[in-house]
Amino acid sequence: MADLRAKQPKGVKLDHISKIYKDPKTGKDFYAVHDVDLSIEPGTFVTLLGPSGCGKTTTLRMIAGFESPDEGEIYLGGEPINSLTPNKRDTAMVFQSYALFPHYNVFDNVAYGLRLRKVPKAEIQQRVTDILALVELSGMEQRMTNQLSGGQQQRVALARALVVEPGVLLFDEPLSNLDAKLRVQMRTEIRRIQQALGITAIYVTHDQSEAMAISDNIILMKKGVIAQMGSPTEIYYRPNSEFVADFIGECNFLKGSIASAGAGQAAVRIAGVDVPVATEKSVRVGEAGEIVLRPEAIVIGDTGLLPCRVELSCFMGSYQNYHVRVGDTLVKITDNCPINKKVFKVGDSAYISFDKNCAHLL
């Protein structure tokens, strides 16, 4: 088997790029992507995450060359690429619809990019065979694309992108057409292959669980701008805004005022109780404070930090789902593995508590 790791992955730098479109209704210009400035290290798996219309696909298409930025410059491996057409860029993309050529069989689809690069026939044969083995499609070379399942089509699309050994691999919501089970299986596959090849990958999705599962870094976007960048753990546990906290998983927001502030920690007064929370932010006593708490970080019991009243108690199999009222605020709790634990009923009084390191002050 040929060395599939042969080529060096490339880093990507977006230098204050913006994309302006015209609103067809009002005729006015608006920023689809605004002043996006980021660097992606070679060999990392980065996900552009965000709701529909946040500019993530536009950003990806600008990297691929299908859109040109109106402001800023894109660098690939340190070279500016704004003036290069898509076919001259060292990128390969896996599309949402897979975009497999219906008039070619699996082999010809995968070999397409190599033929355009005028790679010798023998080498094409070898490289296509190797890449199909990597995506576990050996023996299906002669099949037409309409004779493949959704998962197999996905693998062909991946193989077609990988075989040209791009400096950067781009994914535009590649799993959105698959069923839930296959989606989980394929995202693991994609991550496995990316790690095996050490290739730089930029992945677009609106599915936060998908982003968490496969990324080294997540870039969360909102209305064309970057809301937060960081590792999945940082994004999940240390969101920098209500939007980020709310977009990534379920969370509770407890509002109060800063009761005390010290080095690396503070206390927020909620419903008359001072709740300790770890923070690196500098806060002043008396100003408003908001704690972000993940449902699974909260413990419900007969004793604890904050008194509450149970409004919903629902057995979900692997966990017990509670909605409790703390003061005026509704708090969701995920009580994992509820067997052999006390189950509170609707109307019961209880207490909630949590580790101060699991709470995050916005």
Binding site: I20, P24, D29, Y31, A64, G65, F66, S68, P69, D70, E71, G72, E73, N82, S83, T85, P86, N87, K88, R89, T91, A92, M93, F95, Q96, S97, Y98, A99, F101, P102, H103, Y112, G113, L116, R117, M144, N146, Q147, R160, A161, V164, L170
Partner: protein, 630 residues
Amino acid sequence: MQRTVRRKQGLDLSLIYKVFGAILFIYLFLGFMVLPCLNTLTSIFTTKDAAGNADPMAVIRFFFAGNMPSFVVNSLKLAVCLVVTVNVVGISIVLLTEYFDIKGAKILRLGYMTTLIYSGVALVTGYQFLYDSNGMLTQWLVGMFPNMNKQWFSGFSAVLFTMTFACTSNHALFLRNAIRGIDYNTVEAARNMGAKPFKVLLKVVMPTLLPTLFSLTVMTFITGLCAMSAPTLLGYNSINPEIVRLAGSSVADEAFPQARAALLSIILALFTIVLLTTLNHYEKKGHYLSVSKTKAKLVKQKIQSPVWNVLAHIYAYVLFAIYMTPVVMIVLFAFQNWPAIKAKSLNVSSWTLINFFGTQDYSFTTSRGKTKLREGVISGVFSNADTVGGIRLSFVLSALAAALACVIVVVAVNYIFKHRNKKRAAIVEACLLFPWLLPTILICYSFRTFFNGEVWYVLGQNLYYRENVRFLIVMAYTVVKLPFALRMVKAAFYAIDDELEDAARNLGASQLVTFLRVKLPIVLPSVLAVFALNFNALFTEYDMSATFHSSYGKSYAMVIQSMTAEEGRDGYNMNGSGRRCASTVFIMLVSGLILYLVYGVGARDLGERLERRKKRRERWERLTGKGKAA
């Protein structure tokens, strides 16, 4: 908002292509669509009186003073009557084969659909063969009723009769599809709520067919208005034959014939524009589409009343006989020798292939009592120089025009899709749809008059002169077929996933390579289908051929028309009837083959086609032993 960075674009090859393409497109649009038609329009107002003074309103005055309105009235009369008769017959054949449970519906459907392969000038001459004064049926009727008028099949009633059955092809295709699209659950629901079968048909089924019927009605009206071959061959003074007659006339014969022809063609164009605008407006309102997620297939309705059931069956088979008799007779007589055809009697001993291949001598006695021999004048379709010349010319010109229309449209649609939502794409599309608004006769008449002189932008050539007329015919054919090709090819382009193009570009393909190796192979089956359908329509096309008819532009349709002339006098036009029958069989075979290729083979999806191709290759390799060697 300031746009600080823009993509750098040098003067590359693609820019040169674009500029060249734009110039060529503008040249073709202005030169072969706008200017000739404008010339026709202006020629109405550039008439001169006897003293040579300009008299712009002369032709208008002439129109109201002379008999010109009668041509318009005749055309309108034909169009209105045709709408009624075609709809009655068209709806009948669809209901009888698709909605009601009529025995032998499959056979009936085949009979009703014969007009798909048997139409135009072939159909008209076929009907003449059967019904005109020397026609087989007429002679049979005269035998029974000696006092009857032998010329009964001529004029308005003959045109109406012929066109009624010739124009139901669209009903057989589109109304059939519409009725098949009805959700049977709606019929059952109506029955369940107490509606009687006739009420269900009237209140549930027919309303859903109304949008299709409206479109068919408008198209039928336009067909009636622009009728050419039937009025010409059967003798009815409508607009189109008059335009062709005037186009061939000169000021020495009558008052400003060219301006009168121009006026008539503009009147026709105005009618067409109004009708198509109405149709377009109506189509935009949308159709009644079933919202059912689990649509049930229509079940044929049994006619409960025995009397009505018998009457419906009789009606169905009478229609079948009307459709099939000319076809069967023409096919049978195509294999009879000349004396048998002349005597209109079928005889096994008269069986021959002479109408297709080979020649025979003909001897006859002159008025002075001498016997003369004309060698080889009884000839078949493929051994008659005139007919072969017509077939060859029509074949080449139709193929060239069909191919040219496809090339122009594919390149244009690729451009339109690349720049969709932009004004320039809309302009290109509008330019290509422009001929749709104009009657064919206006385009052809405009071409004939405008290019019948030296035109600077065609290298100072007279395109109506000698062999040049063939180029003119190709251009006219192409222009007329552009709108249809555009609609079909555009639909094919819609099927291309946008991401396919992006994928090819992303993998390193240039725009040209992407077009040639990704997009074109995907739309190629549709493009070939459009080519085949256009070729089929043009091969025996009559209206345009009649306008451009000259010794250098005698197409197959005109050759067929000439076969209807009186036969045998001094050996002239010998075996014209035989060649006419054989030509009809030949045309039916060509049309049948093309329709099979387009709707039979072409209807298979890509996977199926590729699999069949693979199997064919394997079979070939097995036969030739190549597979083993490999």
